[in-house]
Symmetry: none
Subunit: 213 residues, 4 copies
Amino acid sequence: MTLKHTHAGTAARRQDILRAALACFAELGFSRTTMTDIRRRANASTGSIYHLFTSKEDLAAALYCEGIADYQAGWINALESRTNAREAIRAVIAHCLEWITNNEDWARYLFSQRAALSAAVEERLRAANEQFLGQAAKWFASQVDAGQLRPLPPDIANALIAGPYLEYARQVLSGRAETPVDEAVGLLAEAAWRALAPHPEALPGCRKHGENK
Amino acid sequence: MTLKHTHAGTAARRQDILRAALACFAELGFSRTTMTDIRRRANASTGSIYHLFTSKEDLAAALYCEGIADYQAGWINALESRTNAREAIRAVIAHCLEWITNNEDWARYLFSQRAALSAAVEERLRAANEQFLGQAAKWFASQVDAGQLRPLPPDIANALIAGPYLEYARQVLSGRAETPVDEAVGLLAEAAWRALAPHPEALPGCRKHGENK
Amino acid sequence: MTLKHTHAGTAARRQDILRAALACFAELGFSRTTMTDIRRRANASTGSIYHLFTSKEDLAAALYCEGIADYQAGWINALESRTNAREAIRAVIAHCLEWITNNEDWARYLFSQRAALSAAVEERLRAANEQFLGQAAKWFASQVDAGQLRPLPPDIANALIAGPYLEYARQVLSGRAETPVDEAVGLLAEAAWRALAPHPEALPGCRKHGENK
Amino acid sequence: MTLKHTHAGTAARRQDILRAALACFAELGFSRTTMTDIRRRANASTGSIYHLFTSKEDLAAALYCEGIADYQAGWINALESRTNAREAIRAVIAHCLEWITNNEDWARYLFSQRAALSAAVEERLRAANEQFLGQAAKWFASQVDAGQLRPLPPDIANALIAGPYLEYARQVLSGRAETPVDEAVGLLAEAAWRALAPHPEALPGCRKHGENK
DNA sequence: AATGAATGAGCCTTCATTCAT
DNA sequence: GATGAATGAAGGCTCATTCAT
């Protein structure tokens, strides 16, 4: 009981610090955030932070890894939640925009502070990234094989799917976006489908050229 | 003569410093770059730099503004170099990827260090940006009116055009891209056209379905 | 029984901590040793140490006093173990070099970390030192009175007896010595005797100048 | 002229800082001295110190090396200033006690803070030390060959010459000495000569026994 | 008695910037 | 205009010590 309590307290303190750091990093960036900023925001003492994390960079790394893991897991999850390629892509876009909207701090941090990461973290990330990209590529390849998607190199496919919603997200995060997120999902999903669909007939507007419904 | 010489020297010195700063910012980011780094790289003295620029931030701002101006000018230029919407979009993509490839330091700096800018620069940029986005929006609107492009909100249109090539560029800059730039241009341009074309018939594959143009 | 056991445990724990601290101080010096170093080496918790010692300095003081007491007791002991002055001096030198060899950590700590001691400990030490020096001086004076030693001021006598073996010991402890300890004892003892003998006839080589064995 | 002036200023500032640091190190030891202590004592700013020295350790090293070099140079100088062995030894002892008396801070620092030195400095010192010990050993060997000194291993010889005056110096520096330095020189020199003289006849008292010289 | 999480003063160092020459 | 020595605020981090459990 005592132990559990202690652990719970420690874990909670850890979370407090992580959340505080995230908020700071999102607002000011890694470099302009000081340990004092974090300390104050977390209501923790200097020593307390260093008791739980070995350095400011360690904090940033823990945060980055946690965030990217959640983001990528959601991505893959969304992708595999649908069997139909078109719907899968739409699900990914919807999920990501939702995630970004619901996790603005995370998004701000993950998508603009990568440059501040140390080589050590890059290493850890490389593994996660490779797995993520591998899974995405595998899914993509299987869809291409099944004739559900145009054959495209993985880097291009990735740019076509993620580029638009990320650019839109950047506008949202910086207050420059005007289109509401739910509308954006539809528009971006449709555009992504046009870009990736195997042949024109699969495109929305083509249906009226002869066939049914 | 002496004066001229001096002036030329001053201007040259200014350029040396700017180039050195750019290289540093691109490599290390704004915060991790020290004035000493710049000083050494530019073979300039501390006083020399402060004689020409009022602060590190001023240097970064001058650089950012110069870069973004060049980038945006090229964008608009490419856009207006073609009357045909499809070709205009392709020209923009081609130009941007070329520019990024030929100006890696600029690209690295412009596309990943915005967070480090001060409010003062943001202000200066806002103006430039507004003009840029305004010109782009105007062009886009005129094309929509002319039935050459699908009607889309400007933020979405922007995301659809720039998102993919920027994402691809990020991959290039970080060494993760595999598709060569010249191939990427074609693929990205086609995808962009699919996403923005007014109706399916305008799409590449649809022509073979019998009808029009 | 339980209590006894506990007490034994406490005493043992105390010793563990003292030994660990000694090893650390000998290796790193007082200042560069952290409580964490000691804690780890002693397999003790922070609280445990502070339960038995009031501070890092307290630990260092306890250690210093214990060590110096042992060293000085041995000194006096050796001195008084012989009635003959020459043999007494030899016994002191032999004992000290032996002690230093068998207690390298103690020696390293005692002979190079005095500077780190607080005023409070200095006070405690002054008493012990006074007694020690007093005893040595008394012995020395009695030998002088008996014509067994040259009359010399106590500080000089001390320097002549202890200086050489301490300097030699320093070389041993730092790995710079080449003469083995047992040989050194003989050489240093003879030299000390030469320096302190009442008149030349008492010196080794003088015997052959006329008289007998 | 301007340059000279600047250099003079810089050099003077350097000296100020070194002297201040020396005083602090001598008084408090390396670890307990803070850069603030030094800064204040030298009337210099933080940056000024770091402009001239790369770290606190660098300062300590520069000081140590300078001091030891001066001390050792004086040693060798004194040694070689006399052709007669006995007088040479006396000269060394006289010089060292004088030096220590005139350079109390140096002495305190050199003879009690060696433990605080980093490996990097140890390296630099090793060279200097080797040369010093080498020169001393060479001199000693030549004297032994000439029958002016007893044959003794270098470490023992060193202990016999330096040990006593260093121990006496320690007493002086800590206020425990009672014999005035000029008297001590004579007593220690005589004792050293007794310890190192080749045969008893060379000793002071033996002459009156009839034979010799 | 024991544990180890928490505390916070204080340290060394960095670095943008100023200014005398 | 140029130089680089000097400045000092501020930052990340360490570590002896306290205290709740």
